[in-house]
Symmetry: none
Subunit: 201 residues, 4 copies
DNA sequence: CATTAATCGAGACGGTACGTCCAGTCTTTAA
DNA sequence: TTAAAGACTGGACGTACCGTCTCGATTAATG
């Protein structure tokens, strides 16, 4: 049933998200003001505040609506390989300018409990669910053991990626991802009759 | 060499750090203003800026000077056990109100490159050096293998702790630490003649 | 020539004027928003702007259409007495909540030349014309001299009323009106027996 | 006794007043924003709000501190002549760009009771006191009668000037002032030889 | 009677100014 | 010279309102 009054402008909505995404990815969250986003989107500031409660919420939505599925699990012959490729996708995503969005949102979430909840519920947990599904599939395929705590394993796998993104202690390159994946395998791979030496650099 | 004029107040310096620590630990970085810290410390705002360049630097120093060694490696029979206990110390530290300092500084560092560098050079890397020394000791003791990339291993070990601190996806409890430690062992422990079953919840 | 389409709602027109009059008289021009008038009148904001160009125009019309003739010259035995009574009517009008409309419009007219012109052409000058007619009648009746500048005399008569309305330097009570009327008489009344030099252009 | 802390900047204070005066006199109250005044004065907006509660208060002070005595009673041989000249001064003041300040303040005062009180207490009443002193002097000099209500007489004298300033019904030229002055004389001048019934309270 | 076209209530829109807040700097007097 | 106190510039914030625009629904006069 249609509501009365002028409907919200879909084009304004999208223009705001695109401007926010572009500006924040390029210059960072704090360096971009609401006035600037509004001007860039050709929109009144009140329109932004009518759609979102604050800057963080705008950026949160621009992440979800515009680039939400860049890190989806890719097709591969089996679950384990799909997981491996997704880790590389995630690293590439973090290395790109999009990584600024994640850094900004995690940063703001430290002083904004509502944003923290939103980030978890709308970004983190859905992606963790995907990972969990993938791991369960790998278990069913017989590639992984079935006696470990999946949530803990996920934290170990992805924790190091977020760590390098946020702390900058090292580069998120291919080798690092490969090592992390292998370390995960070492701990959780199903035991075969024969077993080789695990590896790392 | 005798200085002219009124000497700097050492008590002011400490009062500022204590106020900053207390207020930021309780209410968070963003919610605390410089005026408030100055007032709480019974000090003029200029005195703060004469000692530190900005708010983040004050909090950085309050972390280092007041509670810097709460996570030092404890004595234990061997290097591995010392590492295990340190992981538990670090988790306790993160769970306490002090965790707010780390969260605040990492958060601010996302938009302040100088702070990012300072945080790495003065907090992160010294502690990583300790971990590295410990791991090398464990290698020498024959408890760990000697063919892995230590920096990557450190990221895997501590990344999940920072992840839970900053993302709030799960509790930093004893079990989580124990699992993380075991997963590290699984991947890096020296192969003995006999081997037990690794574990997890 | 018949117009096409839905005709303008006369009831909406009147409801708007009544709401504007009531709200502005009670709370003042600036304190009342167009949204509020629209809501009070049970009308869409666009309907107001389809009938009038801006808020001042609405209030201007509410003054003219609803209470325009409260200060008309009353019947009396002669022109002078009619003038005297009209001055008292005008004072009563200014003292009432209707005075707020005049104050509001004069106030807005200071920064809105179009409104200033409209206020003069539609409110001020018609009433000055009435006064002028009355004075001319009094001259014809032999009660007033015929050698003074009528416009200047009107400004002197009514200027003090507007002055007290807008500046609030004193009350617009009966005595003040009576004194003002007498001062006018002193200067412009026809000489009964002997008289000295008249004055003015 | 000197207070502690940095004292308010006298130069900033004056720069603000001068900018406000210049801009408002030229373009009018509503057309000038606080940001603009701040920028023109080379001052932060907070400094303005630290010295005054709102724009009207700034303009009020710029009127009083910068051009307050342009309408002071000039020296003349006698009180009546001084009054006559002051009327001409006042008219010239109203005709000049300074008249915009008076118009602005009276306009804003219609919706700002505090400003209304301030305008009366700080601008209007002091000047009325001067007029009252002058009239009393003229009475003592024997030029004016002593049996009329002075406040009413002042309203009649100056009311017409404010009326033409605010309503724009006619020009504030020399002739108008002269007529107004003569009308005042007619009603209040002391009778030279023979005299009939006086008038008014 | 169906069509047409301007109106209606509702409310989102672009734009502009407001008044508040805080970071980091500067300027006093006192010690 | 340094201290406490607090005023300073600069700039972002979130709110309010104006006057315009856009919906779906209504309402005469026209065809």
């Amino acid at each position: 049933m249609g509501t009365i009054g002028r409907p919200r402008s879909k084009s304004a909505h999208e223009a705001i998200l695109k401007s926010a995404l572009r500006l924040v990815a390029k210059r960072g969250f704090r360096a971009v003001s609401m006035n600037e986003i509004a001007a860039d989107a050709g929109v009144g500031k009140m329109t932004i505040y009518r759609h979102w409660p604050n800057k963080a919420a705008v950026v949160m939505d621009s992440l979800l609506e515009l680039i939400g599925n860049e890190t989806a699990f890719p097709e591969a012959g089996n679950a384990l390989e799909s997981l491996r490729r997704q880790l590389h996708l995630q690293a590439a995503f973090f290395r790109s300018s999009r990584g600024n969005l994640i850094r900004s949102l995690v940063s703001e979430a430290q002083s904004d409990p509502e944003l923290a909840t939103a980030f978890r519920d709308r970004w983190l947990y859905p992606r963790r669910d995907d990972v969990r599904q993938n791991i369960k599939a790998a278990i069913l395929e017989g590639s992984l053991r079935d006696d470990f705590n999946i949530d803990t394993a996920i934290d170990q796998l992805y924790g190091s990626l977020y760590y390098r993104l946020l702390l900058g202690s090292g580069v998120l390159n291919e080798q690092f991802i490969e090592d992390t994946y292998q370390q995960f395998l070492t701990g959780h791979q199903a035991r075969l009759a024969v077993r080789k030496t695990p590896k790392s650099a």
